[in-house]
């Protein structure tokens, strides 16, 4: 059996390892489109920026012989097209790789801002190791950085930029930081924190154009204001890396559409990770959940099925933890709540603490926290297992900080 995996990220590597566990004899090849020294975790990039690790610290696996020992071939090269009729993948360099089972795990690509000047040399995004290297190379104490975007990635790299002494301005189109991860009051608290730590936060504005100005850049905003900059960082979100699949016949909406077994519409072809659109276990809707734990779990399920088993993905749960200059925030599931559902919001602005719990009938469906690091995992436990809360729902509405006690008292009944 020839297993071919396109993409050497968290999903691709997890699937390869799982396949080896299930099938000692199979041939397993992972196509690595970036050609770095070893497969790495994008998630580790913020810590490279803040100089807490060296590049090798981003590698997905520690043992240099890991892939050789497991007989997983890491093949450098980019897929240009998939031919499902002939069961082969064509590479950009002209080579052709055949497969019996194919897993597409190409992750996301950064969205491109449609403004004049976006291709100037001082303009970067922050998605790959190469991006991180380029940023680090031009960042000195006092370097003026104008960053467009304050989503998850935009917020988690602030620490790295500031730790290297950047003079940082963050532009936020919606006016709210991480607006797709937490409620307005929580967003505002993070923005307040960043401002207090010396970040220039500018809401309700965006870039109109970027121009070269001698050795630096001139960033004109939609408000007409002009900001001088040495680096322009464009971090305005990501989208699935599926362009190379156009015309392949693989069904795609926002991402590659998969069923609970991670199968695409075509036989023998699977997808997992940021690139796959699957069922969200809280909302029941088909959607992309571009987070690491989701990528790993989908990959595990895909591999089980590719090896001939029958395993269903129980659905992804949106879970995020963010550290913005030392302020730790988390959000889980339907943090926005649902219409008619009960909810409670605790806001302690002076101490930068925030906690919101959102309920369905008798279960927790979403949560957001700022300033909590102890036992936050149980919020996931309660949501994912739909644990009936009984008397604890009222207790939590009265005092949401007792979530750990509520968990201990009610957990696992539903499991």
């Amino acid at each position: 059996m020839k297993h071919l995996i396109i993409g050497a990220g968290a999903a691709g590597i997890t699937a390869a390892e799982q396949l080896r566990k299930l099938d000692p004899a199979a041939s397993i090849t992972v196509l690595d489109g970036e050609g770095e020294a070893a497969p790495y975790a994008r998630m580790a990039i913020p810590y490279l920026l803040s100089n807490q690790i060296v590049e090798a610290g981003t590698h997905l696996r520690r043992d240099p012989d890991h892939y050789r020992t497991l007989r997983i071939d890491i093949e450098k090269g980019r897929a240009a097209a998939v031919d499902p009729v002939a069961s082969l993948v064509r590479l950009v360099d002209g080579r052709v790789l055949p497969y019996d089972r194919l897993l597409i795990a190409t992750g996301s690509v950064p969205s491109r801002e449609k403004v004049a000047g976006i291709d100037l040399p001082g303009v970067h995004t922050c998605w790959t190791l190469a991006d991180a290297r380029a940023i680090i190379a031009s960042l000195r104490p006092g370097t003026r950085v104008v960053q467009m975007g304050a989503g998850f990635v935009g917020c988690i790299i602030i620490q790295g930029l500031m730790s290297r002494g950047a003079d940082l301005t963050v532009l936020i189109r919606s006016g709210r930081m991480v607006s797709r991860m937490m409620p307005p009051k929580a967003s505002d608290m993070i923005a307040q924190w960043c401002a207090a730590k010396g970040v220039h936060v500018m809401g309700k504005t965006q870039t109109a154009k970027i121009e070269q100005d001698g050795n630096s850049l001139k960033v004109t905003l939609t408000t007409g204001e002009i900001l001088p900059a040495d680096i322009y960082l464009s971090v305005v979100g990501v989208k699935p890396g599926i362009d190379f699949l156009a015309g392949s016949g693989i069904a795609m909406q926002d991402g590659i559409v998969v069923d609970a077994r991670m199968r695409t519409n075509l036989p023998g072809i699977y997808a997992a990770g940021d690139v796959a659109e699957s069922c969200d276990c809280v909302t029941g809707k088909s959607q992309i959940n571009a987070i690491q734990p989701n990528a790993v779990e989908q990959a595990r399920i895909a591999a089980l099925n590719m090896a001939g088993g029958a395993a269903d993905f129980v659905g992804s749960l949106a879970i995020n933890v963010l550290d913005t200059l030392g302020l730790v925030s988390c959000s889980f599931g339907q943090w926005q709540g649902v219409e008619g559902g009960a909810g409670v919001e605790l806001v302690d602005e002076a101490n930068y603490r925030y906690l919101s719990l959102q309920f369905g009938d008798d279960v927790l469906i979403g949560a957001t926290s700022i300033g909590w690091t102890d036992h936050v995992g149980v919020l996931r436990g309660l949501i994912q297992t739909s644990t009936p809360l009984g008397v604890w729902k009222e207790r939590l509405l009265a005092d949401p900080t007792t979530f750990m006690a509520a968990y201990l008292a009610t957990s696992q009944k539903a499991a």
């Binding site: 968290a10 997890t14 975790a41 998630m43 580790a44 913020p46 810590y47 807490q52 690790i53 610290g57 981003t58 590698h59 997905l60 696996r61 520690r62 690491q292 734990p293 790993v296 779990e297 595990r300 879970i319 995020n320 933890v321 550290d323 030392g326 730790v328 988390c330 889980f332 690091t373 102890d374 036992h375 936050v376 995992g377 149980v378 919020l379 996931r380 436990g381 994912q384 297992t385 009984g390 008397v391 750990m404 006690a405 968990y407 201990l408 008292a409 009610t410 957990s411 696992q412 009944k413 499991a415």
Partner: protein, 159 residues
């Protein structure tokens, strides 16, 4: 057979010897806030419940770690954090549905129970036998259910 921590909340008096022992074992100081095992105090019911990682079979924390910083100790079965590798991303802390791996701001890393290389200090320190280290082949979920179930009954009885 691998051993695991067995918790009998009924025997716990809340003396915090386990928390002291854990803190001393790992950090050389008696500061219960640093402990990886926690005693939860259900004040209304007058019950104390010791709680820590059960080294669950699913190993959500280990699976979620992006940089291979959590390893399985083949001898004890413990999931052990390698602090030198951990980047402090905290993804494990929201992946573990039991809330038993936690971020420590002072070190910028996470901590969890590692079974003290097969000689857990909390079990040795516990004067009442509420925490014991015994042969067991049950899964993490079974263990959780066993602990939580007891708490649940008590709560219902008083609620």
């Amino acid at each position: 057979m691998q051993k695991s921590l067995h918790i009998d909340a009924n025997k716990c008096t809340g003396c915090l010897q386990c928390e002291m022992a854990c803190s001393y074992e790992n950090y050389g100081v008696f500061i219960t806030a640093k402990s990886r095992i926690k005693i939860f105090d259900f004040e209304n019911e007058g019950r104390k419940v010791p709680y820590t990682c059960t080294q669950c079979a699913e190993a959500w924390c280990l699976m979620a770690c992006p940089v291979d910083a959590i390893r399985l100790d083949a001898v004890t079965g413990a999931k052990v954090v390698n602090e030198a590798t951990c980047v402090g991303c905290k993804v494990c802390t929201i992946a573990c549905p039991f809330g038993t791996i936690n971020y420590v701001a002072a070190t910028g890393k996470v901590q969890k129970c590692d079974l003290c290389d097969g000689d857990p200090a909390c079990a040795t320190a516990c004067p009442t036998g509420a925490i014991t280290y015994v042969d067991a082949d049950w899964t993490g979920f079974d263990k959780m259910r066993a602990w939580a179930g007891k708490t649940d009954n008590a709560t219902r009885a008083s609620a």
